[in-house]
Amino acid sequence: MSDQVMISGWCKINNSRILVNDKLVFESPESLDFSEFSKAAFKALEQPYLKFYKMDNLSKLGFLCAEHLLKHNPIDGKYIPEEIGIILSNAESCIDTDIEHQKTITDANNYFPSPSIFVYTLPNIVIGEISIKHKFQGENTFFIFEQFQPDFMTGYIQGLFDGGQLKACIAGWVDLSPNAKNYNAVFFLAEKSGGSEVQFTSENLKNIYNQ
């Protein structure tokens, strides 16, 4: 049962850079803030997807990470929707948008809560956005940790592969601080049959996360 799960590819976004499978695929001047960086990183994908502009910062970050990952490691048509899962984690939940929503209700004389902000006050919305784009319908869970937990993530996800629930999984970390001052996303594509030689182990996740 315990066939080895492999890392077919990975994508890492922080400090105005996007790395995929160890290669720099996008870079913008460090002076750009997240809103400018994310817009440029989206344009670099060269695909129209108007929904991107409606997303909050956390969803934009996760969406960009998934898109750049899957652009270079395509899995289209390889699996049925319910075989592909998304298991993500972070430390700051959706604090950036929580603060935005709180601002709309602080002043009784200027009270304007908005559904388009409120809907993003849940960290798992980013999973929904990636699922919609790619029609992924498998297991999905959002965990909160003070720091990235490769031991837990690999153990739990290996269990989902062993139990037959998953054949592919996007797993990782997507964290964004208030006002998107700091952002950090690292996604791994885990598969049993990816032709990769990098095992989905805690050690390998740690190395990629830290490099």
């Binding site: 929707p81 009270y111 849940l122 919305i125 699922s131 999905n140 869970t141 629930q165």
Partner: protein
Amino acid sequence: MKVYITGDNVISSLGFNTEENMDNLFKGITGIHKIDRGYLSPEPIPAALVDSGKLEAVFSNIASPTLFTRLEQMMILSVKQAAESSGMDLQHPRSLLIVSTTKGNVELLEKDKKTNFPQERVYLWGLAKLIKDYFKLYHTPLVVSNACISGLLAIEVGARLIQSGQYDQVAVVGGDILTPFVVSGFQSFKSLSPEPCKPYDANRDGLSLGEACATIILSSQMQNIDNRAVVVAGGASSNDANHISGPSRTGDGLFIAIKNALSAASLAIDQIDFICAHGTATPYNDDMESKAVNLAGMQEVPLNSLKGYIGHTLGAAGTIESIVSVRSLLKHKLIKTLGFNTLGVAEKIKIISETKECELNNCLKVASGFGGCNAAVIFSVV
């Protein structure tokens, strides 16, 4: 390996322990009442609130209420009572606590509450750390924050961690309180009913919010149980991949979760005695569920929603409704869907409209939430 349910606690608008809650549920009493305009909302709304005075009084028996937020008080009380009810050693290296919540201490973002507590407590890991320190836990609690399926998903995660041999006992605590943050958000969606909610009813017009905290103890060992026990037989989650705030138009996402949970439990649809559904009483959610239940071929299986009693308790919903379902199984008693009168959903389903005794062995619990997420867990008597 079997995963037994060996203890529980429910703190809700219907009481401060599971027995009190079950008594009120069996009697058909609701915890939803009209709340005047004030701190929670600029206009009056029906909501199911936990009695703050009583909470403070009960909590002050174990610690000073001024040192803990309202949610922290509820979570500590609930975990403590549930662990005691099962004899679980929370500090054991083979024990784990899972915290399920959507918004945690989000009230600490309010201007006048900001300074009362360290800022890290607004983070869900900060909340988990506080509970860890209080109980002197061996492991840092795992936190699941996955919209309105959080509580049910956390039970599924806990069961898997026991099955994989990583832990012997897992306590799953689900909790969320009502804040202006949450109430204003649902108001902006226009999804609150002006009256107590009416799940699956032809005249349903929105949900009622509630607050609660509930803890369920999962164990690899059957203990503290006389002759009958309930196990987590199987579970699954899925995504609609359709819309972030609207339920699927076809119900296919929830159907996938139901199908996979049945297969994980090795049960056929005719072995399920009742479904405890999400039933928020928004027009779209209840329609979607009726479609998913029909896709699964389970339209003849009796189904209830507990939202008419305790409201939609968000991150607590999955844990509290699972506990009630487990107690239903053990008591052989089906609980009626309070607020329901005339069926008014897209496809025919069989709503439980009378609280009555009957032979029960297997229950399917489902939940769906923003982000298109769905979860299904099956509880079975062994």
